[in-house]
Symmetry: C2
Subunit: 226 residues, 2 copies
């Protein structure tokens, strides 16, 4: 491993673990780094998988199937992102997502069974990795719960307000960075022109201020909206 | 512990763990069982929490806050359900859900820090509990991802179809058990009368067959719908 210097200890999964202990972890679990060429599949949908993967280098995209079996781009994965955990942890549930390399990608594959049973061998290191793993799951849970709450709003206005309130919470300030309109419409699952209209009318009513890549809700007017 | 005979080894978190090892697990992690009276709070929103809870007896409900700070009933928890894991695992994220006891409730509280570091002491038992814990998280992830996909559909018809397809997958048969119309409308985040109308028109078109507590999609017609 030492030949490659991939700075694995900088990955979120190894947060708090010194580089030397990361080496030990990899030796003890039998984890391997594999290379996937640009355009190739890192994981196929519905395929058996017994490893938790972490992207060490490169970028990949998640492809989700709709009910007709058509693949749609869901979201991108970068260095540090985990993949394959659902199919490794719940082999009994058919998993309908595939992952494709957008660049050449290096993936660290950790055998799930070895990870579970490495506690006695690795002690404190194991506790840290499990903590980081649970945190990653939990963070995903929180983001999904927020997305569900956003999509459960009856009007586009309420969707946008809740979306911005969550962003405020995460970014820790009232003026939040937002993606471009196309991406924003996708995240709110709405039509782009409907979104543009809604933003204009909220601006006119003084509920919302916007700039090129930011938005800010008028806290007083929003609180009085009910 | 042995005085109570609460059959803790039957809880999903201890699946595969013999009763004697469950006792060992509890001793090693310092887990405690606490009683909460009907109507009292098991967990308050935004409150510090360092334990993962498991309901051993009784029933509780999750209360989620909307953006005005109003509490709404989200869903119920029964024997075996976990609670508090998000706030224990991610103390840095403000957690806006409270949990209230609907009956007298017994909760097993496992200190999260002790759980993480019990690997060397508990060996195989620890691996099994971590496996069960990760599976519970993962199952929740899958259900939330399905809910997001359902709510992302543009029409109520597509929402209902996808909802039923997921039920088919989980229940392993075409004729699936469904909740009453009020609950179903809530799960699809739609108006009940709109749902009733949609169900009727799908029946008329031969896309859907229904009974008192079941629904069945016409697989051939659904596949041809696109």
């Amino acid at each position: 491993m030492q030949v490659y210097h991939l700075d694995l200890h900088e990955l979120p999964l190894f947060q708090g673990v010194p580089a030397a202990e990361v080496e030990q972890f990899i030796a003890a679990t039998g984890a391997k780094i594999k290379r996937v060429s640009r355009g190739a599949r890192i994981l196929d949908a519905y395929k058996e998988n017994h490893n938790i993967g972490v992207i060490v280098e490169g970028e990949a995209q998640v492809l989700a199937e709709d009910r007709f079996g058509n693949e749609n781009v869901s979201h991108n994965l970068e260095r540090g992102a985990m993949l394959g955990s659902t199919s490794a942890i719940m082999p009994q549930v058919p998993y309908d997502m595939a992952i494709e390399a957008l660049t050449d990608v290096l993936v660290l594959w950790i055998p799930y069974q070895a990870l579970l049973t490495a506690g006695p061998k690795l002690g404190r290191t194991h506790g840290l990795v499990m903590k980081n793993l649970l945190e990653a799951f939990c963070r995903k849970n929180v983001l999904m719960m927020q997305k569900i709450k956003i999509l459960s709003q009856k009007t586009l206005r309420e969707r946008l307000i809740l979306y911005l309130l969550y962003k405020e919470q995460r970014q820790g300030k009232a003026r939040v960075h937002v993606p471009g309109r196309v991406q924003l419409a996708k995240e709110l699952e709405c039509n782009r022109s409907a979104l543009t209209r809604e933003i204009s009318s909220m601006q006119t009513e003084g509920l919302l201020h916007t700039g090129e890549d930011w938005m800010e809700l008028d806290a007083v007017k929003i609180a009085a909206m009910d």
